[in-house]
Amino acid sequence: MTNDFILFFPVVLVSLGAIGLMLAGTCRCFRLEHAAWASGGLFGLAFLVQLSATLACDHSLYNSLFKDILVVSPFSKAAGLVILGCGLFSVCSSISYFKRNNFSGVEYYSLLLFAAAGMLLLTMTRELVTAFIALEIMSLAIYVLVGYDRDNVLSTEAVMKYLVLGAFGGAFFAMGGAFIFGAVGSTKFHLIGNFVATNGFSASPALLAGGFFIMVTLFFKAAAFPFHAWVLDVYDGASMPITGFMATALKTAIFAVFANFLLADAALQQGWVNVLFYIAILSMFMGNFIAIGQNSLKRMLAASGIVHSGYLLIGLVALGSQQQIPGSVIAYYLAAYAAGTLGIFSALSFLSGKGEQWKNFNDFKGLAKTNPYTAFAISIFLLSMAGIPPTAGFMGKLYIIIAAIKAGHVSLAVLGIVSSIIAMWYYLRLIVLMYFHEAERSFVEEYPCRVGMVSTFVLVLCVFAISLYPIAL
């Protein structure tokens, strides 16, 4: 019972904190800085609680009360850690971002916590109705955060597109859930797994259609190949810290629920393996293709997010072959990717200036001359995302590719390597611009707040720490 409480406590902490912040926001003496520090503290505390909970195997939370709906596994715990860490660093970059941009409010931090609560529930849930509601909690909070700057036309356009398409995606999820309920008579993952194990994968057309619709929604939310078009405009319109949060925490939550769904039964995963295989390849190459053509750094990162979704899909293809903890390769890749992406968005949060006026590649020419430390940090993040050896990104890619080979998908592994070589082009382009060009504008500016900078350098350490973690084990 105590263990149940500790395992469930991060969700409680984050949601109660969100409600508390919302209420405190009505008080005049409660300023924005207080809200920022309070939410950062809550994320940090929840992170520590999540870290302290010990767990050896799958554990159903409050079994007699919750009826197997929330299940904590080592994988969901790791995903939760990534999400809470992303929340903490997003708060830090928001603090420095809102020193220069003036559209924040206490509700901003409250919504960030609400989104994290939805994501945590999403990683734990083993049931489709709860997954749908958690997905909507997360999505609604993110929609509002994307459109927080109401005076910005780009941001309004982004929230409109994301809201309409996201509602469409949510409808697909609900319909898929209904189909699966029609076929199986339950929406719980283990019962769906039992049904597939006894009757076979293609026994019921309703189950097939339901699985298809649910995967459409998850592909959409993860910005995988046929449903990736929204991601550029939405990332472009959202403010820097939110873009970072979306690119990392949201993706973690989606892949956690995706892996949990596929893990319901090996036959279920095997049935979808071909679809995942082609979507992984198309996501990687389409993402690279789009990223090469971008001039805006933010849009390039959005497109590279599509590529990373492709890698994570390789992880899903190889899900069955992982001997130790299921999903550990995916969780590791998510953590490695999150450290790099959050780092670069955290650096951009204080470099982009008022109203994000500097966000193109050429705006960062010669950055290394004036801000050598920041340029170094950005280079580390980019190298990690590109997958250069001593960084976390390399280890993540290595594990994914090893898992793919073990699962017998050598062609997928080779294509993954080819795609990461292509990706070098746009990651190294920024490094070349920063180091080998003369500055066109002066970067000498007073940084109004050191928090963003400190968190950026902490993330540099994280990139190396995550890469050393498997060796330390």
């Binding site: 919302m22 009360l65 009826k67 709906i69 609400f114 609604l140 909070a141 927080y148 259609a209």
Partner: protein
């Protein structure tokens, strides 16, 4: 069979109502058309003997939410000449229909392949207030409770996006 006839009527009207919602130019016509959809869906619930859901659909959706939508349209007092021209509407509608067509074919194929199941009547008391309440608080406690967070997020979000905002200090 009366049930089959009723089902066909409700299903057709619910789709027609939704179609009207996007085709009509004036918001008031759209709202009325949407009302048809909501009432038809209530009818479908009644056919499934989901009594509570039927009542809630009529009271909450067709009643409360609909009157709010109508009230807002009245409040804005939109005249026909104020409506946007929407010249490309037909193209988008046709394009959207073509894009969704494969999904429709897929669904029809799935439904046709479903095995024929004997129709059995729901047990006494199915879908009543007590039964639904019991299920909510025993079997489905987690989703029932987290819906409250969802509603709260929606509320905060609506206030943030649409409410009056004081400038930060």
């Amino acid at each position: 069979m009366l049930v089959d006839l009723l089902y066909t009527c409700f299903a057709v009207f619910s789709v027609l109502g939704a179609l009207g919602l996007i085709i009509f130019r004036h918001p008031m016509n759209g709202a009325m058309s949407f009302l048809i959809t909501l009432i038809s869906i209530a009818g479908l619930y009644a056919l499934l003997s989901a009594k509570l859901l039927f009542a809630l659909q009529l009271i909450v959706y067709a009643g409360a939410i609909m009157s709010m939508i109508v009230f807002i349209i009245m409040f804005l007092n939109i005249q026909p000449e104020e409506l946007p021209a929407e010249k490309t509407k037909v193209i988008y509608l046709v394009g959207g229909a073509v894009a969704v067509l494969p999904v429709a074919f897929f669904l029809i194929k799935v439904i046709k392949r479903l095995p024929n199941m004997p129709i059995s009547f729901a047990s006494e008391g199915f879908g009543g207030v007590k039964e639904v309440g019991l299920i909510f608080f025993t079997e489905w406690l987690v989703p029932f409770e987290i819906v409250s967070i969802l509603l709260l997020v929606a509320l905060v979000g609506a206030v943030v996006l649409a409410g009056k905002r004081e400038k930060n200090k």
